[in-house]
């Protein structure tokens, strides 16, 4: 044995699986940033009571229309209500309605899409024609028609029909995208296998096909939340959505804001910014999610 022989060192390469969260953030930094923005908004909305410095509906006639200052960062409106607090509470309205209606619209749309692909033939053609008709209208026009059809219906202070009105325009878009994914799944051998076993249509659709269209579903869901937030703001702005005194971003841009915003631009600056940032974040997150989950996927 000669001295000085270098000790053999074996480098053990550890195989570590990155958590999907880290992998996503590394691959899609913009997606991660928008994801953080969404989480921050969500927390603010959830804990609005603690996050907001003032009561969003407290009227203070001594301090009406005061520009942004240290005690009211975003200024106050024509009733002296604190705009920052109203924006924070508005996030609650926007996210709750946005998420609920997008979830409803996308889920029903996905089921229609999968069922349409599964049954094929005449059913498929008929369903697709109806979807085509719905797709030929701008989403706000469809939503307005649903509003005209249903009117208001309040349950626990939430207008259920508003959620429906926002969900309906999401339907055909999701149905079409999900259908095209489901069409390829329908041809796979395991679907034949479960058919041969004599499973019912509902079981095949829900247990065997729906779980395989989760990727397009999630992508469409994030994009739809963005659309839904914008739609809620537009409808509230037109006076056909959320009603006063519930703080809503769209509502903050209408009513007496439209009389005073020329003199008090902060009244419209911050709610509008909030809408834009929220929609931007969900759009960007949806885009990154698409690139990450399914690079070939096109909406």
């Amino acid at each position: 044995m000669t001295a000085g022989a270098a000790p053999v060192s074996i480098e053990v390469q550890r195989i570590r699986r990155r958590s999907p969260l880290v992998a996503f953030s590394l691959a899609q930094p913009l997606g991660a940033v928008s994801g953080i923005a969404i989480v921050v908004m969500g927390i603010g909305a959830l804990f609005a009571e603690y996050a907001a410095p003032y009561d969003p509906v407290a009227i203070d006639f001594a301090g009406i229309l005061s520009p942004p200052n240290w005690s009211h960062w975003f200024g106050t409106d024509a009733f002296g209500r604190d705009i920052l607090s109203r924006v924070i509470y508005g996030a609650r309205t926007a996210l709750a309605i946005g998420f609920l209606s997008a979830f409803l619209g996308c889920s029903v749309g996905a089921i229609i899409g999968v069922a349409s692909a599964y049954f094929g033939g005449r059913t498929d053609i008929l369903v697709q024609r109806v979807m085509d008709v719905l797709l030929s209208f701008p989403i706000i026009v469809l939503a307005l028609v649903v509003v005209a059809m249903l009117g208001r219906f309040l349950v626990l202070g939430v207008d259920v029909n508003l959620i429906l009105a926002i969900a309906v325009p999401m339907l055909p878009r999701v149905a079409r995208v999900v259908r095209s994914s489901a069409l390829t799944i329908r041809e796979l051998p395991y679907i034949d296998a479960v058919r041969v076993q004599g499973f019912g249509h509902a079981r095949i659709i829900f247990r065997h096909m729906v779980p395989n269209v989760v990727a397009p579903y999630l992508i469409m869901l994030t994009a739809s939340i963005a659309q839904a937030i914008l739609l809620e703001a537009s409808l509230s702005f037109l006076g056909l959505g959320v009603a006063e005194p519930t703080p809503s971003w769209g509502l903050m841009l209408s009513g007496n804001a439209s009389d005073f915003y020329r003199e008090a631009p902060w009244m419209i600056l911050f709610p509008g910014l909030a809408i834009s940032v929220a929609v931007f974040a969900f759009n960007l997150f949806g885009d990154s999610l698409r690139d990450w989950l399914d690079p070939k996927f096109k909406v």
């Binding site: 028609v145 537009s234 809408i275």
Partner: protein
């Protein structure tokens, strides 16, 4: 060509028929109609008798199939009935406002094309440089910024920087073109931003695809100036997908007008639609939906015909 056109126009009929049937029954599935809104609106408490009388006057007491037959006959003869609120013919109400809205729509289209084509092309040619990033941020923002807010910001900025506000009363372009454009250009820009954003994104991806084509390499190889390669060879070919988006978004402009006309105090069809919905004016809502559908099918037709102009290989038989 003529045969193709006739064929396409005939195909429009079942589509519009489908829309007509759908909207008619959708509005009537759920109980409650304009009579309630009209008579109870101001806190009034009408007797059952008054309600029935008013319903009878507006023809809402007749069986559904009779109302439907009237609606169908009316559609064919272009008589869309009488507004249940203002009691004036619906066609008259729409005609009064269509000119203004169409002008804003066309101006928005021009604004969008003027912004989108150069920006989209530039973004594609300078892919992954800071210019591309800036343009992409601008276009993604275009999908997020609500047009009514953009309109308000425009008004505030005009007031702040120029101490000037657009004229408030509408003058037709043939009476006073300057006043007309000074009023309508702002809503056109507010609506056109989103339009431009969507088109620019399509133009970008389309140019990127075209630049890899053989004919671009051929054009460069024979020594064509890069500027001509881009303008004559690339942009012209990349126009087709962009054209589809332009047509589709034109048909959807009414969606933007619905909110923007409110901001700029314009008495156009978007505003008429919102009024119709808030008053449950069924005849007017039906007519507006039909109008939207007609604009959609017509702009699709125009796009298909324009394909032949931009791509000589396309011939319609």
């Amino acid at each position: 060509m003529l045969a193709y056109l006739v064929n396409r126009l005939l195909l429009i009929v079942p589509t519009l028929l489908g829309v007509a049937v759908l909207i008619f029954f959708m509005l009537r599935v759920v109980p409650g109609d304009i009579v309630e809104v009209k008579l109870r609106g101001d806190g009034g408490n009408p007797t059952q008798e008054t309600v029935e009388l008013e319903r009878k006057r507006l023809g809402l007491d007749r069986p559904l199939h009779v109302q439907f037959k009237d609606w169908m006959v009316g559609l064919v003869t272009l008589d869309l009935g009488i507004s249940m609120w203002t009691e004036r013919p619906v066609t008259e109400e729409i005609a009064l406002r269509l000119e203004l809205s169409l002008q804003v729509a066309f101006m928005a289209t021009i604004v969008a094309i003027l912004i989108a084509l150069p920006l989209g092309t530039l973004s594609a040619l300078l892919r992954d440089t800071w210019v591309d990033y800036v343009i992409r941020v601008i276009t993604i923002a275009g999908l997020a910024v609500p047009s009514f807010w953009l309109g308000m910001l425009t008004i505030v900025s005009l007031l702040f920087f120029f101490n000037w506000l657009p004229p408030l009363t509408y003058t037709p372009i043939y009476v006073d073109p300057w006043n007309n454009i000074a009023q309508l250009i702002w809503p056109a820009v507010a609506v056109g931003y989103r339009y431009a954003a969507v088109t620019a994104r399509m133009m970008r991806s389309s140019i990127i695809e075209v630049m890899n084509e053989d004919y671009i390499r051929t054009a460069r190889a024979k020594g064509v100036y890069e500027r001509f390669v881009v303008v004559r060879h690339a942009m012209r070919n990349a126009m087709l997908p962009a054209l589809t988006v332009i047509g589709l978004e034109f048909a959807f402009l009414i969606g933007g007008l619905v909110v923007t006309e409110q901001v700029f105090n314009l008495n156009g069809i978007g505003r008429l639609f919102v009024q119709a919905v808030s008053r449950s004016d069924f005849t007017l809502i039906q007519a507006m939906v039909m109008l939207t559908a007609v604009i959609f099918v017509l702009s699709n037709l125009v796009v298909d015909l324009l394909y032949a102009v931009f791509d000589p290989r396309i011939r319609y038989k």
